[in-house]
Amino acid sequence: MTPGDLPFEMDVAERAADEPALVVDVEGFEGPLDLLLVLARQQKVDLAKISILALANQYLVFIEEARKLRLELAADYLVMAAWLAYLKSRLLLPETSGPDGMSAEDMATALANRLRRLEAFRHVAEQLLVRPQLGRDIFARGQPEPIAEIKHPQYSATLYDLLSAYAVQRQKSVLGHVRFAKRTVWSLAEARIALERLLGQAADWSRLDQFLLAYMVEPALVPTVVASSFAASLEMVREGVAELHQHAAFAPIYMRRRMVVREVTSDSGATPSPRAT
């Protein structure tokens, strides 16, 4: 571990709360290393040969000056100042080994190396930034032409899907047909309504099967229409509402309103022709 690490590790926890304050605490320097680098450049010598002692002195003087001018300095700078003061005292004293086994010279070299490293990164950063940059110096095609995607659908279904779909439908359609058959039945009530309509419009004998033709367009309906209307007509005769007439077996059946009832229902059966009869 480089000695310089100490202050910064300490800072991490402290600083987390209000980081922005850190950025420009001392007139635009980006931290103590940055300040040291600037001071080092003033010595105008290679960083490898720099006098760390002189640099430490400069830094401490700078901090002292800054303190006089300002009320507060970021802790980084003060910690670095404390560390440099310690280093300075070690450098001035006869050679001893520090608590971590490093000589004062080692500590100085480590600091110099950190400065060199920061400088080196700054140097490559500059080189990187002067490269032609995309969107600044060089440009990609301004109107790229999209690749049109042609989608080929591939369908998937399992045999189980297929079989259950079939079974479900067949089962459903079986039930469906039963319901349909029910609907093909012409109920007695329906037949009666139709027959009453017939009696209402025809004064004289009307042929039943001809009248019913209109209801027998659907072949499936023929038997039920015939059966229901016959049953209904018998019922109407029984009630004394209608009369039926047939010449012979299987001959056409004729039907007419029964006259007696006419008076009873005269205001409803408003056709003039029955009166004439």
């Binding site: 042609i150 279904a157 297929l162 079989l163 439908q169």
Partner: protein
């Protein structure tokens, strides 16, 4: 003979060289401007960017001629210039991708009926399903390649009959169509329950390509009804 070939090669090389040597700088500038621009540029805009004495119209024509045989052409649209992929290469800018889709319930129901009852007409499918088939459903099935029009039923209206294809068998892992389970198997597997009316039957399906007695062959135009669009035209 060899010398002739050599000479011709030299000529070609010289031409190429002299062309690139003599290529005026304004063509480079135009190239870069038109390439980088997010929209087509008109001559006024281009002229404003180029050295004052440039004949922009002439330079554009030269550039256009240069790019004419290339994969990218310089085109003029509505008075503005831009680079565009050569029109004969538009196929290159397409990507085929396979999207897996699940068949809709209606489609799989229809497919099942076609499979068991083939050859079957649309009206017959509707009868079994008890629902009027949406046109899209059969279209989707035709698109899957699992269903095909077989012929026309010899009845009034001559409706198209449908059947399944080999692709159908292979997708569903069937060796032959009569590997489709029959009534007893459907009952046994619980897909059909026992309470079925007497006379309820499941047909023994057959996809024999030979037309049946009540089928006429399809006429040439029968497939062009838009029922079976070519796969490439099928959108989403």
């Amino acid at each position: 003979m060899a010398s002739l070939a050599e000479r011709r090669l030299t000529i070609v090389q010289n031409e190429v060289e002299s062309m690139s040597e003599a290529r005026p700088e304004e063509l480079r500038l135009l190239e870069a401007l038109l390439f980088a621009s997010a929209e087509p540029l008109d001559e006024t805009v281009l002229a404003a960017r180029l050295p004052a004495d440039t004949d922009v119209g002439d330079a554009l024509n030269r550039l256009q001629a240069e790019y004419a045989p290339r994969g990218v052409n310089l085109v003029r649209v509505a008075g503005k210039w831009s680079f565009r992929t050569a029109s004969d290469l538009s196929w290159l800018l397409t990507k085929d991708s396979v999207v897996t889709r699940k068949l809709s319930r209606a489609a799989i129901e229809t497919l099942a009926i076609v499979a068991y009852h083939q050859p079957v007409t649309r009206v017959e499918i509707e009868e079994v399903r008890g629902v009027v088939a949406s046109k899209g459903t059969l279209d989707v099935l035709l698109e899957t390649g699992w269903v095909r029009p077989r012929g026309r039923r010899k009845t009034p209206g001559r409706p198209v009959t449908y059947g399944t294809t080999e692709a159908f068998l292979s997708h569903f892992g069937l060796e032959r169509l009569d590997d489709l389970p029959g009534l007893d198997e459907l009952k046994g597997s619980g897909l059909l329950d026992g309470r079925l009316p007497a006379g309820f039957a499941v047909p023994v399906p057959s996809d024999d390509p030979a037309l049946r007695d009540d089928e006429d062959p399809l006429e040439p135009g029968d497939l062009d009804f838009g029922l079976a669009p070519p796969p490439s035209r099928v959108e989403e």
